[in-house]
Symmetry: C2
Subunit: 310 residues, 2 copies
């Protein structure tokens, strides 16, 4: 039997999966990400944890085809230029982690790697080309065409959260620009919209009783109950998202657009909200681009990291 290891390196936790060479996940676990001291322990901790797991399972490293890792930053030839979430400057992940763990290392940007995971093992496995959109604290994305990640000239392929959707916006996005998709379609963006609508109107809303504790989950849950303020925020946000996704379809005409991330837990309700503007925007090119939910949840990263080895 041969194996592979998939690692999803995040700012809070490192999620790891042990796979058989045919892609079956046989174990998964996680360790905290130690971002102290410029993140100098991160790769050491990963290498140790993987070595211990293999030893416990009685797997010799010679049986392991490699280790794939998704990293929250732009990656080029195994080298990360800078990764603020991890405290890293330039780090040669391929070389350093390879030396530490004695395995061949394959690396990629986390959003792209998650897209590869959904493409190979999730809801993207039926399609030749997909765009994965991750709606979480921010908005991320990854594009896979015929099994290849479109990582871009400088590793910014699929950075769709920073598409300008409202050039007239005066509030700044985290990136420094104004009017990015992320400002409207991320969990944070939807919450900000709802808070704004609550402040601007006297409309009754269950959200008022939650005050500052209101979450995006609450907003979707109340929108499903026809709360007008919650619905207004969701409709506005998903209308922008649908149009933007249709625009992306005019660029690369993928077979499917797949929605993932915390916000995607709203399920089919979310798809129903995105679909009208998405269909309206894509009518010219193709009514056949599928719009669906991701299925691997927070394991997409480790699956994709495993498939990097291939």
């Amino acid at each position: 039997m041969r194996y592979g290891v998939g690692v999803d390196l995040g700012g809070t936790a490192v999620k790891m999966g042990l796979f058989t060479s045919n892609g079956e996940l046989i174990d998964n676990w996680s360790i905290p990400t130690d971002t102290s001291k410029g993140g100098e322990n991160i790769l050491i901790d990963i290498a140790k944890s993987v070595s211990v797991k293999l030893a416990v399972k009685g797997i010799d490293k010679k049986q392991v085809e490699g280790l794939g890792i998704g990293i929250p930053g732009a990656v080029s030839n195994g080298v990360v230029d800078k990764c603020i979430n991890l405290g890293w400057g330039e780090v040669d992940v391929k070389k350093e982690l390879g030396t530490l763990c004695g395995l061949e290392v394959f690396s990629g940007n986390d959003a792209n790697v998650a897209a590869l995971g959904e493409y190979e093992a999730g809801s993207g496995r039926f399609y030749h080309s997909i765009v994965l959109v991750t709606l979480g604290t921010g908005v991320g994305g990854g594009i896979i065409i015929d099994g290849n990640i479109i990582s871009g000239h400088c590793g910014y392929g699929g950075e769709i959260g920073h598409i300008t959707v409202n050039p007239g916006e005066t509030e700044s996005c985290n990136c420094g620009k104004c009017g990015c998709l992320e400002q409207y379609a991320s969990a944070t963006g939807i919450r900000n919209l709802a808070l704004k609508y609550l402040e601007e109107s006297d409309e009754d809303s269950t959200l008022r009783s939650l005050g500052d504790d209101v979450t995006t989950k609450d907003i979707f849950s109340e929108a499903k109950n026809n709360d007008k303020i919650a619905l207004k925020a969701v409709d506005y946000s998903m209308n922008i998202l649908g149009t933007t996704l249709s625009n992306i379809c005019h660029v690369i005409n993928p077979e499917a657009v797949i929605i993932s991330g915390g916000v995607a837990k709203a399920g089919d309700f979310l798809i129903d909200k995105i679909k009208p503007s998405f269909d309206k925007g894509t009518v010219y090119i193709d009514g056949e681009t599928k719009l669906c939910l991701a299925t691997l949840g927070d394991k997409a990263g480790m699956y994709g990291a495993f498939y990097l080895i291939r």
Copy 2:
């Protein structure tokens, strides 16, 4: 010596080029496109013209590696589904033209093929990935990454003219949607903007004396002379184009964006007008994406068609 033939099939003319196998254009000519009788003579005319040319040059068909052809419609596996400009319904170009001319035929969408031409032999030859934007009667586009055309699931890759840039627009685009890039950044779109501004204001403008005969060329020429109405139309149009191109860069992060088509004859003035909003939009991902003019002019299609053979 070995050869290849590149054919750029347009609604008015068929432009053809004879190339040596290393990409040197040794002859080029054109014939009218006969769109009568549902375009049934088009492929016959092309096959005859190519055969005559090869005979005149004393080239045996065995010395010809193939014939590439760019077609103004979506092409999948050599089959065109429908092509209104040519009067065609479904046509198996690869098979029919192959039989008629006795050469192996390679086909693609015209805008994608033109992009391949600029990528291989024009201003794109210095880059690994490009977006070619064609500003003519409409707005077309083609994307090449590592030598591969991104043709998309249904042949609509690079159809950037129908990206929605103004969801609030009430006038219809040719495609039936409202607010497409093509409505603002095509030659027609820029002219419509100028005519609208002339009607809406009493501002002095040299364009007034031209009346309905005003062309997009006039508008650019007067914009260079600081005519306020002309400048307003050019600025508005190129501001939208720059932002849209920056958004495309967030999707595929290409090394260069190349502007071609009739409007590109405005030269560096055009680039200077696109650049501010393009740079503003791409600041987060990469200041290093080049923005430049195409160099092959109306020969990009025949060059690209030749490179399809490769």
